[in-house]
Symmetry: C2
Subunit: 365 residues, 2 copies
């Protein structure tokens, strides 16, 4: 049922753009519309064409038998029946004169190839399906809520088991293993960063996570779970023993900033103002601005629309799910980030889906 | 040192194409040329421009401090200093008149955006860096050899621990955990497929791997390890107890086909003939052709050039590393694939880098 109404939304977008049909290439968008699931995010394993009458799924012999969706018209890619030929067939059959394509996904080479080999006028579209995906339906909100619940539980258990001498990489691996043992998966490679490593907003724990937990260490953990294709995202700070006064003060300022930012989601019209005011609040307290956005949408992808950033044009709308994650980074000293996954409810009010306590998490070792 | 000679190869390609410079966007190609490593394969975290004089690495505030390579000229992306502006600066400074771009990687939208905003003639290139990457240097061969050794060891230990009642997904998770515990990682999600599941060449173990190991089961395991950014790929078949005569016969035929295919790498000029003759051999024995290619190059990516396929134009050359993986798939019954990672040595002869025994692996439970 969900898939049908998503297709209706695509068709209504096509009508607005005066297009007869569109070619969908981005694999998350294909999954969203058809539930097709290949093996790889890196390779073209399927294509989807939405016309006024039909939804075509185009894939090859490796996957064709696994497609189980009676709403779809299947076309098989073979050496003799390559994509331009299949597209030309659909175009002819359904009298398509203008075919939209996803300009943010199709490569220049693919575009040139189709242009040369398929007899149809190709029209650039932007955010055609990604735009629709920004507003989550009930099924999606439920999946993300559950991904948040799983992550909260994991974070609680993993935090409780941290010990002196463990490296950042080992803690990250513990998170991964917990999720996989519980039928979930990583939404992204966790960032586990101790002391000055936490001052690097995108610290690469896999590559550089050799620092060990010591007495007095503050630990940033930024992680997310995958549940039924949907993701969660949370950052919490842990401390071994008593933190310094400088750290505690910064933590309180950031916590206040993050809670104000969440509240602003229910008050402002545009995400850019949430970003702007959160930065302003921290700057007024004497902290430097952070070199990343205040937040981002998430769902099938860890970073998707809307953007919670200074350059965002997006308006805050019911059904959006975004992270709110300001940070304070003092190079060579420490970094702090506090992050929640937040849904905008039907009345336009923000509600945190990640429910881990937001006070500094004490580690007893 | 290696990075320098790679850049020389790029510059000599540019000269052939009559280009002053090129913009590299594909993240594996950026890593290959600069050793830059971001966090995500899905997002544009850096760009590289190779000119006659310099190698520019362009990235943002999240990563700029982590770049540690004195051969590189760094440019920082900021809100005020977006990519077209940086590109325009480089173009002007270095008097670039024609800038190549990677047509197989740049999206149509990015292309249009640069075309509109950077004052330079953009020229489509294909396989500019990927083509160079096909021939592995000694450092790369060593990394892949080690990835093969790790995978062989993992396969041996994991096979030895398989027990009745384990699901396909659990075995896949055991492989993953073994690799991660040993400082390695997955090259791709392992395929573990029991009995008729193995007849699906790209069986999705994560999604559908609920079948349990039982007496008489045959188990296909297709997996690879990641070592220092480089990958290995192997497929072996395991059997619990005594296989059927039909299976044993098919296994012998396939093993013979796979060994002939490897041998042909040392005899033929073109990969397409290796593919053709391997299929012909199996068809003559009465088995159906397989719905995938006979093999593929691998290295930083699990699928890269050259192609070992009917439609391949690639010639067999020293330094190439490819998989050889013919299969027999009998729908509803069983599937068999035997796969090795093979290097073409300096004398043009094939040498297996995966060294796991190729006889059916007996599982005692």
């Amino acid at each position: 049922m969900a898939a049908i109404s998503r297709i209706d939304l695509v068709r209504s977008e096509l009508e607005k753009l005066d297009l007869d049909a569109c070619l969908i290439s981005q694999h998350h968008n294909i999954f969203y519309l058809t539930a097709f699931q290949g093996l790889s995010e890196q390779e073209r394993e399927a294509w989807c064409v939405v016309t006024k009458e039909k939804i075509y799924l185009i894939t090859d012999g490796r996957y064709i038998d696994s497609v189980d969706n009676s709403n779809l018209t299947i076309r098989e890619l073979t050496a003799e029946n390559a994509l331009p030929k299949i597209l030309s067939g659909i175009i002819k059959e359904e009298k398509v004169t203008s075919l939209g394509f996803e300009a943010e996904d199709l490569t220049y080479h693919e575009y040139s190839y189709f242009k040369k080999n398929a007899a149809v006028s190709l029209k650039e579209t932007r955010r055609l399906v990604s735009g629709i995906r920004e507003k989550k339906d009930d099924e999606e909100i439920a999946a993300i809520t559950e991904a948040c619940r799983i992550m909260d539980q994991c974070l609680k258990e993993v935090s409780g088991a941290i010990s002196l001498g463990q490296t950042e990489r080992e803690i990250a691996l513990t998170i991964e293993w917990w999720l996989k043992q519980h039928g979930s998966d990583l939404a992204f490679d966790p960032i586990v960063a101790i002391n000055e490593h936490a001052a690097i907003p995108h610290f690469n724990t896999k590559a550089d996570g050799d620092t060990k937990v010591t007495a007095g260490a503050v630990i940033l953990i930024d992680c997310g779970a995958l549940n039924n294709h949907y993701m969660s995202d949370i950052t919490r700070m842990l401390v071994v023993g008593k933190p310094t006064a400088e750290f505690s003060q910064a933590y309180q300022a950031l916590l206040e900033a993050q809670e104000i930012a969440i509240q602003l989601l229910g008050e402002k019209q545009h995400y850019k103002n949430v970003d702007l005011m959160t930065r302003a609040f921290l700057e007024k307290k004497g902290y430097p601005s952070y070199a990343h956005s205040t937040g981002h949408g998430l769902g099938l992808e860890i970073h998707e629309g809307p953007k919670v950033a200074l350059n965002s044009k997006d308006t805050i709308q019911p059904g959006h799910i975004v992270t709110i994650e300001p940070g304070i980074y003092l190079k060579g000293k420490f970094g702090i980030r506090i992050e929640d996954t937040v849904v905008i409810d039907e009345t336009g009010q923000p509600r945190c889906l990640t429910l881990s306590p937001k006070a500094l998490i004490p580690i007893s070792v």
